[in-house]
């Protein structure tokens, strides 16, 4: 991007060109180099007033966008630029013509930084190139063996201590006889019986009575079957609310 902006042009004009995303920059030197290089400015003859104005415009509100420390780095550079600008304005003494240019230290730093920035890009390319080659051992390691599988190592005393500390084993679970198989048809009959007495029955009553999963499933299937045939209607006014089973219209005719 070449900007034919002469030195001392209005800052407001250049503002538009330097709305930069400060987070993108690695620091004040990176930003300063961007401003210089993107405008094709001669780095050995930096128009310091213009660049200072652009730099300050670019870091506008930096203290809100970056951490205090990172913002400080940009602000420090702004101060350096302002100091150089002031030194440039001072009349130079005739007898000190070979006095060092106030910009020279900054230029040296910029060039040195630019060199390493360039190397960083080359390293990035080398890294990408290397990443195309894979050696063995890139496969993720297996999960560690379950600790409970590892052999126990403890003394008899330790074992006894733990054994005594443990609560007594719970009483044996009561023996359960296998439930009689039940069919959907039987459940349908039960629903009919229940709905003859009441216009609506909460689905839960059948759960409470049988308390086993098979019965619950069969009751539910029976319900769905009846609903499908249009013999009952199912109502639930909210998620996980009571499921009501209503007598269907057809039911009256039975």
């Amino acid at each position: 991007m070449r900007l034919p902006t002469p030195v001392g042009s209005r800052v407001a004009e250049s503002d538009d060109h330097f709305v930069v995303d400060i987070e993108r920059f690695q620091g004040p030197l990176d930003l300063l180099l961007h401003l210089i290089r993107s405008q094709d400015i001669d780095i050995f003859d930096i128009p310091i007033a213009e660049i200072t104005a652009q730099f300050i415009a670019a870091i506008e509100g930096v203290e809100r966008r970056l951490t205090l420390e990172r913002a400080g780095e940009f602000l420090e550079m702004a101060a350096t630029l302002v100091r150089i600008k002031a030194q440039m304005l001072l009349p130079r003494r005739e007898d000190l013509l070979d006095e060092e240019d106030p910009r020279s230290e900054l230029v040296r730093r910029l060039l040195e930084y630019e060199l390493f920035r360039e190397v960083a890009y080359l390293l990035s390319d080398a890294e990408a190139e290397r990443a195309l080659h894979r050696g063995k051992g890139y496969v993720e390691p297996r999960a560690l063996p379950d600790r409970s599988e590892q052999p126990l190592e403890l003394t008899m005393d330790q074992f006894l201590e733990v054994a005594l500390w443990l609560p007594a084993p719970p009483a044996k679970r009561p023996h359960r006889a296998p439930v009689q198989p039940i069919t959907v048809e039987e459940k349908i009959e039960l629903w009919f019986k229940a709905l003859k007495q009441k216009a609506r029955v909460p689905f839960g009553v059948f759960m409470r009575r049988w308390k086993t999963r098979v019965h619950a499933v069969m009751s539910f299937l029976a319900c769905l079957e009846l609903a499908k045939r249009g013999l009952v209607r199912l109502r639930q006014d909210r998620h996980f609310g009571t499921l009501w089973v209503y007598r269907g219209e057809d039911d009256k005719d039975r």
Binding site: Q26, P28, L29, E69, Y113, E118, H133, Y138
Partner: protein, 176 residues
């Protein structure tokens, strides 16, 4: 057993680059020079047979790695972890450490114009840099240098493989 097969077996079994001297430990009558020779022969063999892998020089050693053309196919496997790319801040810091080593944190910060404490810690954790010395003078600051893994990470044989300043694309506009 033929020397080439012994060298091949050792390289095949290793997950990291091995120096010829390390490979030579496989057999009492094997010298590093013979290992180098065998590696050259194996390279030609793999080339001729168009194998999916080749022996690459990394740091002062060698490692069998897949050829770059295979990368797209290998990327599809979840079990293969993506090599984590370094950030620009990390790369710039590494560049300075690589060229200026042994170098102190202050020197790096002066060059980059930013604080690098976090980046240095990160690079150290990844094994790309290490503390190599302490400087003389106030506070005896730690001096950092690059590691063998640094060379491996960037596919370099030695630090001499790094681009030389005169090869860089930087235009010094006043000299035009």
């Amino acid at each position: 057993m033929k020397t080439t097969r012994i060298v091949e077996a050792v390289l095949f079994a290793s997950e990291t680059p091995l120096a010829p001297a390390e490979i030579a430990r496989a057999s009492s009558d094997l010298t590093p020079a013979q290992v180098e020779e065998a590696i050259g022969e194996l390279c030609r063999e793999y080339e001729r047979e168009e194998r999916a892998f080749q022996i690459y020089p990394l740091g002062d050693g060698y490692q069998i790695l897949t050829r770059p053309e295979c990368a797209t196919y290998l990327e599809r496997f979840d079990s293969i972890t993506r090599t984590q790319r370094l950030s620009r801040a990390a790369l710039e810091t590494l560049a300075i450490v690589a060229y200026r080593q042994p170098v102190s944190r202050m020197e790096i910060e002066d060059l980059r114009g930013v604080n690098v404490a976090g980046v240095l810690r990160n690079l150290q954790e990844r094994g790309l840099i290490e503390v190599v010395d302490r400087a003389e003078g106030l506070g005896r600051p730690l001096l950092y240098g690059t590691t063998r893994r640094f060379l491996d990470h960037f596919g370099l044989r030695s630090l001499e493989d790094l681009p030389q300043p005169e090869e860089l694309q930087i235009t010094l506009r006043a000299e035009r």
